[in-house]
């Protein structure tokens, strides 16, 4: 009995000593952090304690977007705009791609690079165009993204561009340890670059290879920077963050939203985009009239990206 009491006392003593140490560490860490933060730029301090973009209220959003706009204007020159349009209720985006039309010219790849301010060096491409043999059908294992003939399409080959599939059950968002990536109400999976810690778990979780990491400081020629940007989309990124296709969120979220850049550049009209809830949109007509398929259906990721054969 007494021994038990002793041990309990010892436990109490230990726990009280532990909490003291913890308290001391917490206080001293807070003091140190406070000292560092007090000496630095208030904008930087604000950014350090900023909430995720989806958690900010309207006023905070406006203030942060204003700060970012000013900051980018200093770096890239005027006019520069960082906006943060929210998802429109009742809109559900989806995408279609006609495999019987695609010729593999890679214009979409570079239109995307230009529109979304992707780093030129080290190179980042959000779209990968895979070349496959017609005889083998869709065989990802035997496909290549590095084909370079004089003319495309090559005989007996077809082409399959792959970018983010904007899954309804995205695996990338579930593995993020800091909640820096999430699915928006209109279906677009986005990344908050200010919250991304660069652990690249999402890149491992994504079965489509759609996420890309900024291994170095992104370099973009100053005259090629797209100055119309969105917080969750194509605003200039930092080194050490992950980025991905956002259906050109800076274009499609506008009141008179334009098609994504890849849709507009496609010389053969293989790319279709629209709102699933609008019965007259191309994507809705597509799903009604054509047989569509999704990539890696067995993984149950439920992509919003539909491939089809228009023939």
């Amino acid at each position: 009995m007494s021994s038990k009491k002793k041990s309990e006392e010892a436990c109490e003593g230990m726990s009280s000593a532990g909490s003291d140490r913890r308290k001391f560490l917490a206080v001293s860490a807070a003091a140190a952090a406070g000292g560092v933060l007090a000496s630095c730029d208030p904008e930087w301090r604000e950014a350090f304690f900023r909430k995720r973009f989806k958690e900010l209220n309207g006023e905070e959003r406006e203030r942060i977007l204003g700060q970012m706009t000013r900051q980018s204007q200093r770096t890239f020159g005027k006019p520069f705009k960082v906006t943060g349009e929210a998802a429109e209720p009742g809109v559900s985006f989806a995408y279609g791609l006609d495999l019987s039309r695609c010729v593999g010219c890679r214009k979409c790849v570079y239109a995307c690079v230009s529109e979304n301010n992707q780093s030129r060096d080290p190179q980042i491409h959000w779209i990968r165009v895979l070349e496959m043999e017609k005889e083998k059908g869709i065989d990802l294992f035997d496909s290549t993204a590095y084909y370079n003939p004089r003319k495309v399409p090559r005989k007996d080959h077809f082409y399959m561009p792959v970018a983010c599939q904007q899954c309804r059950r995205p695996q990338c968002t579930t593995v993020c340890p800091v909640g820096a990536t999430w699915k928006e109400p209109d279906g677009i999976v986005v990344v908050d670059y200010d919250w991304c810690i660069g652990c690249r778990y999402c890149m491992v979780a994504c079965p489509y290879g759609a996420r890309h990491f900024n291994w170095g400081r992104p370099k973009i020629p100053k005259d090629e920077v797209n100055r119309s940007t969105h917080y969750l989309g194509n605003r200039p990124r930092y080194r050490g963050v992950v980025e991905k296709c956002t259906f050109c969120i800076q274009r499609v979220r506008k009141p008179n939203g334009r098609y994504p850049a890849c849709v507009e550049i496609c010389p053969v009209g293989a790319r279709k985009f629209g709102d699933l809830n609008d019965s007259k949109s191309e994507i809705r007509q597509l799903i009604t009239h054509k047989r569509v398929f999704i990539l890696k259906e067995e993984l149950n990721t439920k992509p919003r990206f539909f491939y089809f054969y228009g023939v």
């Binding site: 010729v103 570079y110 230009s114 370079n148 004089r150 003319k151 939203g257 334009r258 507009e264 009209g269």
Partner: protein
């Protein structure tokens, strides 16, 4: 008797077919003509073909001399997407359509054709010599689609006249399912706003009506392999 340019090109292929037809005793007038034109046709010496094995022939390939970066190329193309081009009234009707892809200075047709007699001729020797008709059956010819007088219109099989800016109606006479898909937005290219104003390209913007088969294009450079990214 026709020594029409497109027939001449096809004549080489037509010989075995012609012989086969003769063997079966059912040679049509048209294939006779093709064979006759072949007999007078002297093939030019074969041109050296630029291929992967050719040495120093790179400059002869169109597109190879383009010094712009791929991003500059696509930016120029995106900037050129205007519907309709500034200063031109849009076509009213079912769809918003850009101008048809006329060669420079070719429209209106009646500027030249007004005073001309519209006699049926198959030779294109002075003007329009760039046209090589290679679209479906050999029996097709200019006035199947072009109206004789006034020349500024196209002509449907029914005899109705159709403006060049609505040429999809003409194409749809034979390519019905494609026209149906095009109306729904499943075939062909659209640009503009995804739910507002959008611009449909005409059939002729992508398919040369005189030779509709897709000609290959030069791909933009492949991505850098991960091992070369520093």
């Amino acid at each position: 008797m026709s020594n029409h340019s497109y027939l001449r090109v096809r004549a080489r292929r037509a010989v075995p077919i012609g012989i086969m037809l003769l063997l079966f005793g059912g040679c049509s007038e048209r294939s006779d003509g093709a064979i006759a034109s072949k007999s007078r046709y002297v093939a030019p010496p074969p041109k050296p073909r630029p291929g992967p094995k050719g040495k120093g022939k790179k400059a002869s390939i169109p597109g190879a001399v383009d010094k712009r970066s791929p991003v500059q190329i696509v930016n120029a193309e995106l900037a050129a997407l205007k519907c309709p081009p500034p200063g031109v009234k849009p076509v009213r009707g079912e769809f918003t359509l850009p101008l048809p892809p006329f060669s420079k200075g070719i429209y209106p047709c009646d500027e030249c054709h007004e005073g001309m007699d519209a006699k049926p001729r198959r030779k294109l020797t002075e003007e329009h010599t760039n046209i090589k008709l290679n679209h479906g059956p050999r029996e097709r010819w200019c006035y199947d689609c072009h109206n004789r007088k006034p020349r500024n219109s196209l002509r449907l099989a029914s005899g109705a006249l159709v403006d060049f800016r609505k040429s999809y109606k003409l194409c749809g006479q034979c390519h019905g399912p494609k026209l149906r898909d095009w109306r729904l937005g499943l075939h062909g290219k659209r640009f503009g706003q995804w739910r507002g104003k959008k611009c449909n390209l005409l059939c002729a913007h992508c398919h040369d009506p005189h030779s509709p088969r897709f000609k290959g294009i030069r791909p933009l450079p492949p991505p850098t392999r991960p091992i070369h990214i520093r």
